[in-house]
């Protein structure tokens, strides 16, 4: 079983309500869910999509076909009817869109009318729609009813009852009228999955890594992280501040870090562009900070609500001067959670800026997981504070040390003074101009610390047979689609996936000799959601290696499973 529900309509029509409810109830009912959104940069009108794929086995990418098309407007029908599977159904409210379709694949459900009749108001037509879809796939309402009860708890029993009645009416109507519906959705034994998107996973990861200060300026697709942190601020004592601009954001976060707490900021590429000077400051003053760079198609404003992997090289080399950094590119919300934690750990351990780089696609896709394990989280307090600080005889912020890492004291907690300076400085943190001190400090920051950071980096994940003839490589958010495509092609070819989620320092081959996989394969393919092959550049700059084939997509949309399979198959076939 592997079905796709596609909901289309204008911004403001409630796609997110319907889509969100369906995803949640399907995952809670024990199905694997993969949902993604496709929306325009406007608040009302236009044309948006919410796609939910669900199945009884792991799924990690979007498909191009829809089994159920929920059309909230006429445009959705016009644009997407061609995507319907053979046994697919288009469900719509003929009264609302003022048009009736007679072909058998159309199912008219009077969402508005049902809502008014059963719930007393058109407001509930989304509830009717969810009920109808459940009727179409022959699923019971129980799980949805639970969700309704919880969601409207604060609004009182009457609202709950009206919604329940509306859901039931929608369900009954569809069950009755959809004679052509032949969807088979067997019950699962699974007790329900966790459903989470990339933005929340990063936020949750930050929270659970002890992040106490998050500041930023709204910018799609990074706003979700700011929203998440904001929603937890009071409960968990996190200072969340919307700054006047992104320059302030990174500098304020560095102030917070200096003052002794774990701090984070984030933006899209354009906002990050304004943080670049501050990033270089972090490098010089050696303060830990985590920066989320959520990519969208550029340059400049580009396509604000779409997706691209276009800021990788920028993130790697941003900032004047030379200093170490770590860059993590999660491929799934789960990886986002754990890598955010790793980013915090490494940032503080080595007193460097560390990055989570993702994109609109990952930020907005919801995935199901069995669950996150908080025991796997790293939390070491690397600060010099409390007794240890008090007992320190002499404190120098940039004291030379065996590994280049100096004690990170918290100012104000002892008589020791903590001095950081954006100029080149001596061990105490005061400005210097002489060449010798400069050399020592460059060596401390770069030559001593960099190899240690590099050692922390995990090698790429390989999924496939031992001696693959074809290796498909990728990084970040293409994880799911590559994995699923390769999984499907594995019966036809000796093909494997090599996915990089820890990008910089570029992993060495000590722990896993992934380079020989590439060297020995007959065909290597690099899949990237950009036009210039930025990851290929990183690989070449790091290893000299060039991939055989590049598959790139730069129209602002993510890869679709069926398309990628087709492309890979095309190249593999020619072998």
């Amino acid at each position: 079983m592997d079905y796709t529900i596609l909901i289309g309509g204008e911004a403001g029509q409630g796609l997110q309500t319907i889509g969100g409810a369906l995803s949640k109830l399907l995952s809670r009912a024990g199905y694997h869910v993969f949902s993604h959104q496709d929306y325009m940069s406007r608040v009302r009108g236009g044309h948006n999509l919410y796609q939910i794929r669900f199945a009884d086995r792991e799924i990690t990418s979007p498909r191009s076909k829809a089994d159920i098309l929920v059309a909230l407007d006429l445009k959705t029908i016009e644009l997407h009817k061609g995507e319907l599977t053979e046994s697919g159904i288009i469900v719509y409210d003929a009264d609302f869109i003022k048009k009736t379709f007679d072909s058998p694949e159309y199912l008219h459900v009077p969402f508005d009318k049902i809502a008014v009749e059963s719930g007393g108001s058109k407001i509930m037509s989304n509830t009717a729609a969810v009920g109808a879809v459940l009727g179409m796939i022959g699923m019971e309402l129980t799980v949805f009813e639970d969700i309704v009860r919880k969601a409207f708890r604060k609004k009182g029993q009457e609202v709950i009852d009206k919604n329940l009645a509306t859901a039931r009416a929608g369900h009954d109507f569809a069950t009755r009228e959809c004679r052509r519906c032949s969807f088979v959705v067997p019950k699962t034994a699974n007790s329900g999955y966790m459903l989470i998107n990339g933005a929340d996973a990063i936020g949750l990861g930050a929270l659970m890594s002890g992040c106490k200060f998050y500041c930023g300026y709204p910018m799609t697709p990074s706003t979700g992280i700011l929203n998440y942190m904001g929603s937890k601020a009071i409960e968990y004592g996190v200072m969340v501040e919307q700054t006047e601009d992104e320059i302030c954001a990174i500098n304020m976060a560095l102030g917070a870090s200096f003052a002794g707490v774990r701090a984070m900021t984030g933006s899209a590429g354009g906002g990050f562009a304004l943080m670049v000077e501050g990033l270089s400051l972090a490098g010089m003053v050696e303060l830990p900070i985590v920066i989320a760079v959520m990519q969208r198609p550029g340059p400049a404003t580009g396509l604000p609500t779409r997706t691209e992997q276009g800021d990788l090289l920028f993130t790697l080399y941003a900032g004047h001067g030379e200093f170490p950094r770590a860059v993590f590119a999660p491929g799934t919300p789960e990886q986002a959670f754990y890598l955010t934690n790793k980013a915090f750990d490494i940032a503080e351990k080595y007193q460097i800026p560390s990055f989570i780089i993702a994109d609109q696609y990952l930020v907005d896709t919801e995935w199901t997981f069995v669950g996150f394990d908080t025991k796997k989280l790293l939390y070491n307090d690397y600060r010099l504070s409390g007794d240890a600080l008090g007992k320190t005889g002499e404190y120098k912020r940039y004291a030379y040390s065996e590994n280049g890492v100096s004690p990170l004291a918290v100012p104000g907690l002892s008589k020791h003074l903590v001095v950081v300076d954006s100029d080149e400085h001596d061990e105490e943190g005061h400005m210097i101009e002489d060449g010798e001190t400069r050399n020592r400090m460059v060596e401390k920051r770069l030559f001593q610390k960099f190899p240690l950071i590099r050692n922390e980096i995990s090698p790429p994940e390989y999924v496939g047979p031992p001696n693959p003839e074809i290796v498909v490589a990728g990084w970040g958010s293409t994880y799911g689609v590559i994995k699923e495509a390769v999984g499907i092609l594995k019966d036809k070819y000796k093909i494997g996936m090599l996915h990089f989620s820890e990008l910089y320092p570029f992993p060495g081959t000590e722990k896993f000799d992934f380079m020989s996989l590439l060297f020995e394969a007959k065909l290597t393919i690099c899949v990237e959601n950009n036009a210039t092959g930025q990851f290929e550049t990183l690989v070449k700059a790091s290893t000299g290696y060039g991939f055989g084939v590049s598959i790139r997509k730069y129209d602002g949309r993510q890869f679709i499973l069926d398309e990628l399979i087709g492309e890979l198959d095309g190249y593999a076939n020619r072998l």
Partner: protein, 284 residues
Amino acid sequence: MATLTDYKGQVPAWCPGCGDFGILNALKATLVEMNIEPHEVVLVSGIGQAAKLPHYAKGNTFNGLHGRALPPATGIKLVNHNLHVIVTTGDGDCYGEGGNHLMHAIRRNVNIKVFVHDNQIYGLTKGQASPTTLEGTLSKTQPFGVHANPFNPIAVAIALDCSFVARAYTAEPELLKSVMKEAINHKGFALVDILQPCVTFNKVNTYKWYQERCYHIDKAYNPYDRVEAFKLSLEPFTEKIALGVIYKHDKPAFEDYISIIKDTPLVKQPFQLEKMEKELLNFY
């Protein structure tokens, strides 16, 4: 008891006679007189001659980027509001490159103190016009002369309802110290514009020039009257310059609204992962 010796820093690299010395001395004396110890202070600065001050005194120090002293100062104060956060900055640093942060920091009213060394010039970069440079001034980088209206920090701060606005002059140490003290004691954001001759590059606004124009605000003056304060701020700068506290507004500081730090500074709050476990449930 803190002494002046405790506040002795590195040897200043300023030009002999520079007005920055007076500000440095006044600041050290103020902190000593207020019995504040170096480790209770964070000196935050950007880049410029003025911004080098923290190295020439003693305290916890965040010497950041040109124009960007206020954001880290805000971050520091929000994380540990027990610290005295003092920003030492220049007219270019604070009113030029850093103008946006100034406006919004004033709006936030975080309890930090901003001491601007206003020499009406870019000193460290050798004599370009700053936002406060007088109209008509010619320089290498102002070939047509300065024609932007000189920035009036006092008027703008009053318009932004800054909770404490004052002007002082480096060559009047007593007044300078008393203004600094009042600023530090004030609860909320304090902006002190300190006139500071740059003996090397500013040949117009010299000690003599300031001396001839500066006067002390009358004791009877009521700094709580915003419109009067605004009027005072409009006195033609090239004719007379009022020194003292020009505007004051008692209101809660930003920190007072942040419920989570009411009892304990953020930096002293422990991280408790156990309490967060339940967050995972929201995703089921």
